[in-house]
Amino acid sequence: MIKYNPFNWIILILSSLVLLFILAPLAGMLLDTTGKEFFETVKDREVQESIWLTLWVSFAATFFFAIGSIPLAWLLARKKFPLKNVVQGIIDLPVVLPHTAAGIAILGFISRDGFLGKTADILGLTLINNPAGIALAMAFVSLPFLINSARDGFAAVPERLEKAALTLGASRSRVFFTISLPLAWRSIMTGFIMMFARGMSEFGAVVIVAYHPMIAPVLIYERFSSFGLKYARPASVLFIIVALAVFILLRLISIRKKEIHISSDAETY
């Protein structure tokens, strides 16, 4: 129970203002959208396709990059190696780069003159203006969320549990899949959701790599710049609702996964 002294009042008012700052524009946007506009947008094929594209490309990017990122996170949590801090810095780099600059960098990498572009060209693929290119741009800016969260998860797994498993005859890979991975699972899922959500909302990097096919943030921008605020608003509302629903669904799935009590084990000594 909060006591109402002046200090608590100030804290309460400042906190409310910050929350209001987040909620007010969203609420305003919702209130300014009429039901008719909204349902017309729901039925708009272009909007539907764009939201679907955003969701699956971001999910695919997160999924495929998780395969490489989770072992890297484990490596960072468990092993000491030269230049570890530099590697950690490299992983955090996409967070501080301007996203349009990240887009330019990715574009150079996947264009026909770039390494990946050339390789894809040999296989008959074009990465620019292609979902694969979009996935790469999304992954580039959102990977740190997954790696850092998974790394923290692995670091929180008591090392002696892994050691105990080894003395019980388990191979290193079995220890990883039966002890480290399940015990770090919640953090990995949190990182997965964060990366997926961050990738889904990416605009700057993606718009440089692929204007078409249009992901939802690009579509919203295109509607705004071509037709104005009124036309961009219903698409924005729909995208936010879909994104929120997916976000909540994923969180529920990850929470439902059996709770693992690492802490209770640690309490025993």
């Binding site: 050691k163 003395t167 019980l168 005859g169 025993t268 000594y269």
Partner: protein, 352 residues
Amino acid sequence: MLKLINISKKLGNFALTDINIDIHDGEYYVLLGRSGSGKTQLLELIAGLNDPDSGEIWLNNKNVTKKKIQERNVGLVFQDYAIFPNMTVFGNIAYSLHSRKPGKKVINQKVWQVAEEMNIAHLLNRFTHNLSCGELQRVALARTLITSPRLLLLDEPMASIDASLKDDIKRTLRHLNRKGLTIVHVTHDYREALSLSSRVGVIHNGHIIQEGSPAAVFRKPVNKFVARYAGIKNFFRVKFFREAGRFKARCDGNLVFTLSEDSYPSEGLLILRSDGIKLYNSEPLSGFDNCFKGIVKEIIPSEYGMEIMVNAGEIFYIDISVNDFKILQIGESSEVWITFPPESGIALPGSV
């Protein structure tokens, strides 16, 4: 069975140095030392979780220094048991069996057998976060024993269980040892060494400073550290000398003790076991070599009865039974006489 030859390992600013231990089949070896003395690190080297910087580890006449953990067949029970919190008790115990891929029936049968033996069969379907420390320890033991190890390493197995459960677990460990299992048990508590070990090694700052039967180590500690581990409290800084054919030791406070051996250095430390000292409430009649008058400073109830602190020019700690305490009818500030035979003094050279 287990032979450690000149094992050295540097760990940060701490190092295990030139460790040599030879443990025979069926022995119960207790490694005694304070926390931070390198006990756990030594167990991890034996188990194969770490590699020594130099030296060799031999198990059953085979050099296993470079062998993988999985190939050593050594069981290690961690101090905090390291029970897998994401598995049931059954899952924990059966963990090692899955690596060998036997049938489900074999797994069930083996888990039941070892769980029955450890009295935890009723817990098999439970998750582990609500189990007591005693139960967790039994799960950890069962999980290790199911691998049929040739050598069982125990890291402070009694450190976090209630006193009431210690006897239970001691009985279990003794039983396992009697069945032929070789055990290396690491602890900081000399009483565990006394009640379980067939041989004791005292480790201090990464060195084994004394090794032998518990009786030998506790009766003749080689220095103050070992004496402390052996629960000895009476230490006197003395100068040794010879007088009228007898061997004597003069304390800093000028009290003179008569001793029985002649191999003493010129100065050093004299230690007396508290149970070797006798206490009287009036001056004893017969002539004792060592008889001193003193005042009771403090009476402290102890595990075995009473510990009496007496100032007789030097401070002495004397253990007596509750019954003897009642007969003596002494209290704080009472006048008392203490005696001890010349042979109960143990001399340590230098100023350790």
